[in-house]
């Protein structure tokens, strides 16, 4: 059997001394799309940020293997260059730095790391034109400063646009649906679906089942109180839609954690 792309083992993590993740275990194989759902405060976003290496999140126990390597030992930029991509829930604005300049630097940093030649301006613009179609991003947005003055929907599109350019092996989408109206959601989800491939795995973190109508996962996990309380197929989403999270909270986590 081939090595899984990502193996999270007994992951514990704290923020400002509060333990948020209390033993998460999750295995993602190449090409799989995993949805992670859960009530507010269950640790969904924390999991996304710990995987990306955001400062302020302290891992207190456990292990994460990515392509067989110790992911937690890598700097955030190294993780990114190795193909871990986080689509942010709240993309930050970078005044004064144009989107296209930022993206070129990012793509070339990744390419350099992978031993590929860096793109020159012309090559990169051609790539931008091609990838912009995926999320129907306005070329004007490409020239403007990163996320500055973007609407909520434009910011999320920009995240998926970046994902398309950076071509990650593991994409973590952190509540990509939040703040999107139904049309924007359709466009963004459509973009994500176009980027699905046997070489790319995804972890889709979401609060609502709604997104999963558009991005249909291979597996679904319910995170409750810092642990995966239940795992299943996409049909689990409908069950959650029906019953809410409360019924899972009553089950002993030990039973549910065994996937």
């Amino acid at each position: 059997m081939t090595q899984p792309l990502l193996e999270i083992q007994n992951l514990h993590a704290s923020v400002a001394g509060n333990e948020i993740l209390r033993g998460v275990a999750l295995t993602v194989n190449a090409g799989e799309v995993h949805a992670v759902m859960g009530p507010n405060g269950s640790g969904k976003s924390t999991l996304a940020h710990v995987l990306a290496g955001r400062p302020g999140y302290e891992v207190t126990a456990g292990k994460v293997l990515y392509k067989g390597q110790d992911l937690l030992a890598m700097t955030p930029e190294l993780r990114a260059r190795e193909g871990v991509f986080l689509a942010f829930q709240y993309p930050v604005e970078i005044p004064g730095v144009s989107n296209v300049y930022f993206l070129k630097a990012a793509v070339n940093a990744v390419r350099k790391h992978r031993g590929l030649p860096e793109y020159d301006a012309m090559e990169f613009l051609a790539l931008v034109k091609q990838k912009a179609k995926i999320v129907e991003i306005d070329e004007d947005l490409v020239k403007r400063p990163v996320n500055e003055g973007f609407s909520g929907g434009e910011k999320k599109r920009n995240e998926i646009f970046q994902m398309a350019l950076l071509d990650p092996s593991l994409a973590i989408l952190d509540e990509t649906d939040s703040g999107l109206d139904i049309d924007a959601l359709r466009v963004v989800a459509g973009g994500v679906n176009q980027l699905r491939s046997p070489e790319r795995s995804m972890i889709v973190v979401t609060h609502y089942q709604r997104l999963l109508n558009y991005i249909v996962p291979d597996f679904l996990h319910v995170l409750i109180d810092g642990r995966i309380a239940r795992s299943g197929g996409k049909e689990l989403a409908l069950e959650l839609e029906d019953k809410g999270y409360a019924w899972l909270e009553k089950e002993p986590p030990a039973v549910a954690a065994a996937r």
Binding site: A52, G53, R54, P55, G56, T75, P76, E77, R79, A80, R81, F85, L86, F88, P91, V92, I94, P95, G96, V97, S98, Y101, F102, L103, A105, A106, A109, V110, H113, P145, V146, Q162, L166
Partner: protein
């Protein structure tokens, strides 16, 4: 420090002397005895003047300045702090001293400095010169300087050292020296007037558009014009000149106190563009050492529709005290000030401009970008003054501060005095901070934190950089990155 042998300067500004001077730099032991002891007195001023073989009027001017200086007090209003300067411990004429103490080869130079040259991509043969190595590293600059001089002479542009100008163009010097910054102007300018070592003189005759950017870099002894540099640029009617001062490479200097004076005069329809990259030693990361840079720069837009534009990138010095200003005397004249000032580690910068509107329909633009990092303190201090007769005067000011980390400071003191009700004034200011979340966003896209800060800072400074001559702008960008290294994480 003048590198030239003062007695040689009598032989007029021939190419021979130029060459001579350059080669002399390597073996100056014979003039070592000419170093004068530390301290300042009337005798010292006389001695400096004598060594430069100056005419009486020049000596008189120096003495007037010196006597006035004795009555003055060092200013304390600026937002910088430093131990008291002992003016009697300074050597005011010490050309050979640096030679003697200079490293014999690049191997003796601080490896940190060499590392910086590497990062800035300074050509190897230039590194030795910049580091003050006592060998002639730059042979081709002699011919470069000569070629440029010939080219300039053809169109009538005078460009030479200040000392040469005193010898060869006394009437011009007499006419304009002190006409913008009088010898009594301020403590540091007055000190400079008494003891100035050397500097640049530049004269653009009527109707001439200077065919190239004039740079101190092309003037052979520029790297050693010393701690009391004096520059005078005169642009006659309808002429244009772009002048570059400094260089992006850090220049090694033994002198802690620098007090330079720059005077610009623009007559009718003339334009002077003056760009500076200041990168003197800023001290180490604990704030030890570093240059105190107290500079007086002022331009007079004397003629109608004249224009003076200052652009500065200030990354060096432990203390920067500098307010390049414009006196907008002629009707329709224009003054501009574009500035990027960096204060990292324990650097302190108190810089800005003064725009004095005297003539009608005068216009001024101020764009100041202050960057503070580490324990750095960055102050913008500016004054816009509209006098009573300046009908239709306009000013636009923009002062932005960028903070990196939470131990640094940014301060803004904009003074506005309006004496004419037709004036239009606009002032915008902002303060922002490079946030951890911004840096993480870059990192998550594969970009290192250093590069992230670079990109944000360059974005912040873009409007100023685009005022610099192209090649300079690229260097300035790189320099900024090096100056801010280690400011995150």
């Amino acid at each position: 420090m003048p590198t030239q042998n003062p007695s040689a300067s009598t032989e007029s500004a021939s190419i021979l002397e130029l060459t001579d001077r350059e080669y002399k730099a390597g073996f100056v032991t014979d003039i070592e005895s000419e170093t004068i002891p530390a301290g300042l007195s009337e005798d010292v001023v006389r001695l400096i003047s004598a060594k430069k073989n100056e005419p009486d009027w020049m000596l008189e001017w120096r003495l007037k300045a010196y006597r006035h200086w004795l009555t003055m007090k060092e200013p304390t209003w600026q937002n910088v702090h430093y131990p008291k300067i002992d003016y009697q411990s300074i050597v005011y004429y010490s050309a050979p001293k640096t030679r003697k103490d200079a490293p014999k080869s690049l191997e003796e130079v601080d490896p940190k400095l060499l590392e910086t040259y590497e990062k800035l991509g300074i050509p190897l043969r230039e590194r030795a010169k910049l580091a003050g190595v006592a060998v002639d590293a730059v042979f081709d600059s002699v011919s470069v300087a000569t070629t440029f001089r010939e080219q300039l002479a053809k169109v009538g542009v005078l460009f030479c050292s200040f000392s040469e100008a005193v010898q060869n163009h006394p009437d011009l010097v007499k006419k304009y020296l002190g006409s913008v910054v009088p010898y009594s102007d301020n403590y540091f300018a007055t000190l400079n007037s008494a003891v100035f070592s050397d500097g640049s003189f530049c004269f653009i005759p009527k109707g001439v558009r200077c065919p190239m950017e004039l740079s101190t870099y092309f003037r052979i002894n520029s790297a050693n014009t010393g701690q009391f540099e004096r520059t005078l640029i005169v642009a006659e009617e309808g002429s244009y000149v772009s002048y570059l001062e400094g260089c992006t490479a850090p220049i090694r200097d033994e002198n802690q106190l620098h007090a330079a004076v720059v005077e610009l005069v623009a007559l009718d329809d003339a334009e002077i563009k003056y760009s500076t990259v200041q990168n003197w030693y800023p001290g180490d990361k604990d704030g030890k050492g570093g240059i105190y840079n107290f500079v007086t720069k002022r331009g007079a837009c004397r003629g109608r529709s004249s224009k003076i534009s200052w652009t500065q990138v200030e990354t060096g010095s432990s203390i920067t005290w500098k307010y390049p200003s414009c006196i907008l005397q002629g009707d329709n004249s224009v003054g501009e000030f574009y500035s990027v000032a960096v204060a990292n580690n324990y650097q302190q910068a108190d810089t800005g401009t003064k725009m004095i509107h005297i003539g009608k329909n005068t216009k001024s633009t101020i764009v100041s970008k202050g960057i503070s990092a580490g324990h750095g303190q960055n102050t913008y201090r500016g004054m816009v003054k509209i006098l009573g007769k300046a009908d239709g005067a306009r000013n636009y000011s923009q002062c932005d501060s960028l903070l990196i980390g939470d131990r640094c400071g940014a301060h803004t003191f904009p003074y506005i005095e309006v004496g004419n009700s037709t004036a239009q004034m606009e002032h915008e200011a902002s303060t922002s901070k490079i946030g951890e979340d911004q840096v993480f966003y870059f990192q998550q896209r594969g970009i290192s934190p250093e590069e992230a800060v670079n990109m944000i800072v360059n974005g912040f400074c873009k409007v100023v950089f685009k005022e610099l001559p192209m090649e300079f702008a690229v260097e300035a960008q790189k320099l900024l990155g090096v100056s801010l290294e280690g400011s995150v994480g």
